[in-house]
């Protein structure tokens, strides 16, 4: 039998993405993630069914929900589980050699795994966001089509943010042993605390930049940047924010490829093995 030539370039990335089952949400993890992403929608449905006064106030309400729920913690938390698992689960489960032993470039492995995590993240997060949009616009049917460009902007920015988070947490999964715990700390400190600090500290957070882009694109008050004192923060150029998020993601992917080229498979086991002698 003549073995075929291993895939290269984009074909390799595509095949890695297609065959990647590691980190795919299933079982309890899937239930947990579904609950996490749909909770705002469920709560909104419950509120609407209990009281008419709970009816949302159109797109502004939707924007506030996306800002305070999905950008603040739901999207980063979801991507923690999907991103860190992309490679972390391989090392934890002892299956890493099935991946790194393949004749596929490390860049293709990283990009393929990252693309798979992004795809899963979008499949999980975007449906409840769309559902929330429909619920928020429930009393404003005539304005529904008017706000479609704003909805599209929201979806695009959330997708951009998903890509960046997937890259950052994939890197954590490759580099760190307790990647999930470290990622939680990262999200809590950088996205949930720093993002609301005054004096430009917030610009270190990707959440800040996504809000900044959305505020520029939609002009909606729901996306206005605020500090912990509820003081307004001066928005910066949207291009900078787009670039910041992009650079963070690209840097994480580059570092992941670099790390994967150097990372060993089963080094810990062999060390323990050697030590036992």
């Amino acid at each position: 039998m003549n073995a075929p030539k291993a895939p290269r370039g984009f074909a390799a990335t595509r095949v890695v993405m297609r065959t990647n089952t590691t980190g795919a949400p299933r079982g309890r993890r899937l239930v947990g993630l579904l609950l996490l992403v749909w909770i705002p929608v469920i709560l909104q449905i419950v509120a609407l069914s209990l009281s008419d006064s709970a009816r949302a106030h159109g797109f502004n309400s939707f924007a506030s929900g996306v800002n305070g729920q999905y950008i603040l913690f739901i999207l980063p938390l979801t991507m923690i589980f999907l991103g860190t698992a992309s490679f972390g689960d391989e090392w934890a489960g002892g299956t890493a050699h099935y991946v790194v032993g393949m004749p596929v470039s490390r860049a293709a492995l990283v990009l393929g795994r990252w693309a798979a995590a992004v795809r899963r993240g979008l499949f999980l997060v975007l449906p409840p966001v769309l559902a929330k949009f429909l619920l928020s616009m429930a009393g404003f049917h005539e304005a529904l089509t008017h706000y479609l460009p704003e909805l599209l902007s929201t979806v695009l920015v959330l997708s951009w943010l998903t890509m960046a988070y997937a890259a950052v947490f994939l890197l954590f999964g490759l580099f760190l042993r307790r990647a999930v715990m470290v990622s939680f700390i990262y999200v809590f400190v950088l996205e949930m605390l720093t993002a609301f600090l005054p004096q430009n500290f917030a610009t270190f957070s990707m959440g800040f930049h996504s809000r900044n882009i959305l505020f520029h694109l939609t002009g909606n008050e729901g996306y206005r940047l605020r500090t912990t004192n509820l003081m307004d923060v001066e928005p910066m150029a949207a291009g900078w924010s787009v670039a910041w998020i992009g650079v963070m993601g690209a840097l994480a992917l580059f570092l992941s490829t670099w790390a994967l080229r150097r990372k060993e498979c089963g080094g810990e086991a062999t060390a323990a093995d050697a030590a036992s002698s």
Binding site: M1, A3, P4, T22, T95, G101, G267, T270, A274, A275
Partner: protein
């Protein structure tokens, strides 16, 4: 032209203060080579270097003269059966192999066909659509072998492949390994169980504490142990008379044990003993029914080598 020769040149590897491999020089060529040593001898570290999964601290690992680590062409020629039984438990055997085939460049149709072929060869046809999470230890080992054979590699590296197999599966696995060696593949098998390696191959590398104690065939290694007395069992009609006659030969024996119909002798001069026995047979002076070397098996050789090293230290 690719010859499937893996060369390890002065490779050392440390894990913190512990040395896992100490200046190892080896060459693996076509056929089955057994890597033998107790736990912690450095076998797994060596195997991970052979498969490009680990980096040498110093020295080089070459496949047909090219560095192996991060070399995609080299990786496409290597099949690896890892120790442990980690698999993607949620996947069926078929899906697992199809995914692996896709990563190795097979088209979907070719991958499907090849997956069926190798599963058939390792005797897993009946379980092709079962999830590997429900597989027994033996079935998992077979699936790992199928995965390693999927792309028909020139070099097959197996780390403790017989662990946990029942006797029937063990026999089949050994047969399959021999077949792969006979097909002209470079097969490296590690084990700490001597008779397993002995059943698979005659060509061995003995390791201990990260060093190569000896390499070659069992007989060759035994021949190197010229300072150590060899034990030979001689079955004869008159063992007592035989023993007397042997003891008359000056310095031939260094030990002798009489049994009911046999005697076990120890000698540092096997050539002289052979000549003596040959002459005795010609002269019809002594009736020897059988001659059985007792320490050409790996257990004895390994024990001798370890003793020898310990003595030097």
């Amino acid at each position: 032209m690719s010859s499937g020769v893996v060369r390890i040149e002065s490779v050392s590897r440390w894990f913190g203060d512990v040395i896992a491999l100490n200046s190892v020089d080896l060459e693996f060529t076509k056929g089955v080579t057994g890597l033998l040593g107790p736990n912690g001898a450095g076998k797994t570290t060596l195997i991970r270097l052979l498969t490009g999964l680990a980096l040498p601290g110093s020295g080089r690992v070459l496949l047909d003269g090219h560095p192996l680590r991060n070399n995609l062409d080299a990786l496409s020629r290597i099949g690896y059966v890892a120790d442990g039984d980690a698999l993607y438990d949620e996947l069926t055997a078929r899906r697992f192999l199809e995914d692996q085939a896709a990563m190795r460049g097979f088209s979907r149709a070719a991958g499907k066909q090849r997956a069926v072929e190798v599963l058939e060869r390792v005797g897993l046809s009946d379980a092709i659509d079962r999830r590997s999470g429900g597989f027994s230890k033996g079935m998992r080992q077979r699936l790992k072998l199928a995965q390693a054979m999927l792309h028909d590699p020139d070099i097959l590296v197996m780390d403790e492949p017989l662990t946990g197999l029942d006797p029937v599966m063990r026999r089949d696995y050994i047969r399959l390994t021999r077949e792969l060696g006979d097909e002209g593949k470079t097969v490296v098998v590690s084990s700490h169980v001597l008779h397993e390696i002995e059943a698979m191959t005659d060509s061995i590398v003995l390791m201990r504490h990260g060093q190569v104690l000896a390499e070659g065939t069992v007989a060759e290694i035994r021949d190197k142990l010229d300072t150590h007395a060899r034990r030979i069992r001689l079955v004869a009609e008159k063992p007592r008379f035989f023993a007397t006659r042997l003891l008359q030969e000056d310095g031939l024996l260094s030990g002798l044990v009489l049994e009911t119909n046999a005697l076990v002798v120890e000698t540092r001069h096997p050539d002289r003993l052979c000549a003596f026995l040959g002459q005795a047979a010609v002269d019809r002076e002594l009736d020897v029914c059988s001659i059985e070397p007792l320490d050409d098996d790996l257990t004895s050789v390994f024990a001798y080598l370890v003793e020898k090293r310990a003595g030097r230290a």
